[in-house]
């Protein structure tokens, strides 16, 4: 089975092909699309690439961070201004996968992959996409809810507000094999503090539903409070609310429900 490879200089031309051809897939780092081809996925007959340099640009100097969809995890790890994302980037694959896999591709990675997207969800990222008709910004939650229908759009970049302090953003991935293993669950929290109280908490969970989801009940338990033991306990108890984790080879859904509160408490208390 051979496929047609089409490489374009501009993202507009690439997006036009993606939106008009249902069998076309955009090739980023290859860790998803080439894997599908190697597995014999006959739904892909055209591979689309774009050589636009904007796709591999990082702008992290200001308070708003923009990361091109084609930026690899190795590039994020080399960027000092993105230190708050290093734990999430390091949790992806081994060194070779981090040299290849991209931020844009991770948005499409299904369980047990896609851990970086959990971090982006906690950061309330905007996803810039280009369709057949032009480009627009989509909030990450909306993007994830419609992910199955997004293969016809080209992701250009992700952007988000940089956390005010290093302590305000936390990430934790639970895997059975270290340092490299698929996620049992992944957790990320953005905890902005105003006058000593949490204001605008966002907690994201991976492998607790078909796509990464927010733990809204746990966020409510944190809102307006100081991060003390009672607050952490209340958030941990509420973590499982609204989740629907699946059984897979790494863990059962029952096990995931049992541990999510435990790990949220550890994440909030800063425990290793």
């Amino acid at each position: 089975m051979t496929v047609t490879v089409r490489t374009f200089a501009s993202t507009g031309e690439a997006a036009a092909v993606l939106s008009s051809d249902r069998s076309a897939r955009y090739l980023g780092g290859g860790t998803l699309v080439m894997r599908a081809l190697n597995e014999g996925d006959i739904s892909i007959s055209t591979i689309v690439r774009a050589s636009d340099h904007a796709l591999t640009r990082i702008d992290a100097t200001g308070s708003r961070v923009t990361i091109g969809a084609g930026v690899t995890f190795a590039r994020i790890l080399a960027e000092r201004d993105l230190a708050f994302l290093h734990a999430a980037a390091r949790s992806i694959g081994g060194p070779a996968v981090r040299n290849m896999g991209t931020v844009g591709g991770n948005l499409f990675a299904t369980d047990p992959y896609g851990d970086f997207t959990v971090a982006l969800l906690a950061l309330d990222a905007m996803i810039s996409v280009q369709g057949g008709l032009g480009s627009r910004d989509v909030p990450i939650e909306e993007f994830l809810q419609t992910r199955d229908r997004q293969t016809g759009t080209l992701v250009l970049a992700v952007s988000f507000q940089k956390p005010a302090t290093a302590d305000a953003f936390r990430y934790r991935k639970i895997a059975r094999i270290k340092p490299k293993g698929g996620a049992v669950i992944a957790l990320a929290a953005h905890l902005p503090v105003s006058n000593g109280r949490i204001a605008g908490a966002r907690i994201a969970l991976g492998s607790m539903a078909p796509t990464p989801i927010r733990a809204r009940a746990a966020e409510r338990a944190l809102e307006g409070r100081t991060l003390d033991a009672a607050t952490m306990g209340a958030a941990a108890a509420a973590a499982v609310e609204g989740t629907s984790p699946a059984d897979n080879a790494l863990a059962s859904g029952w096990y995931r429900r049992e541990i999510v509160g435990v790990h949220l408490r550890r994440l909030l208390s800063g425990q290793e």
């Binding site: 081994g94 060194p95 290849m100």
Partner: protein, 159 residues
């Protein structure tokens, strides 16, 4: 289906081949160039047996679309020996019994080379991290980690 002409550097030598659309680099190296050192393990990015260096960076050749290496430099295990002499990493693998069945060894050596090329004196934890994408089902990893550390200390002795 039309074939695409592809030129790149393979272990310091220019090569020119024709590839079918969608051909991965591992197939191009093994079947079109005849370099059998990168191995096919899983085809899924899970095992690391196909690891090669592209412009000095560790990549999985089975997940690399062949035509994306046009004009770039690809290094495989076949290229690391120095004439009839083994590369210090190969020597250390032999001395430390780091190979049993040998199937993971080419990928392990390339992952180790990628590490030592940019970090000649790694800690044990850095070696573990560097080979974390490579699966070995024989050795239990300890002899491999020891071999990489031994190669690093040999390099230090020489420098």
């Amino acid at each position: 289906m039309a074939k695409t002409a592809l030129q790149f550097r393979h272990n310091g030598r220019d090569v020119a081949i024709f590839v079918d659309g969608g051909t991965n680099l591992l197939v191009a190296l093994r079947e079109l160039i005849g370099d059998m050192t990168p191995k096919f393990g899983c085809g899924q990015g899970g095992c690391g047996a196909c690891s090669v260096l592209i412009d000095g960076e560790l990549h999985l050749s089975c997940l690399t679309l062949a035509e994306t290496v046009a004009g770039r430099s690809v290094e495989t295990l076949d290229g690391i020996k120095d004439g009839p002499n083994l590369h210090p990493l190969q020597r250390a693998f032999a001395d430390n019994f780091a190979a049993q069945c040998g199937y993971c060894t080419p990928g392990m050596l390339m992952a180790a080379k990628a590490l030592l090329d940019r970090n000649p004196q790694p800690s044990r934890a850095e070696v573990v991290e560097a080979i974390s994408g490579n699966i070995c089902r024989c050795t239990g990893y300890e002899p491999i980690i020891n071999a990489v550390l031994a190669a690093a200390s040999t390099g230090r002795a020489r420098a």
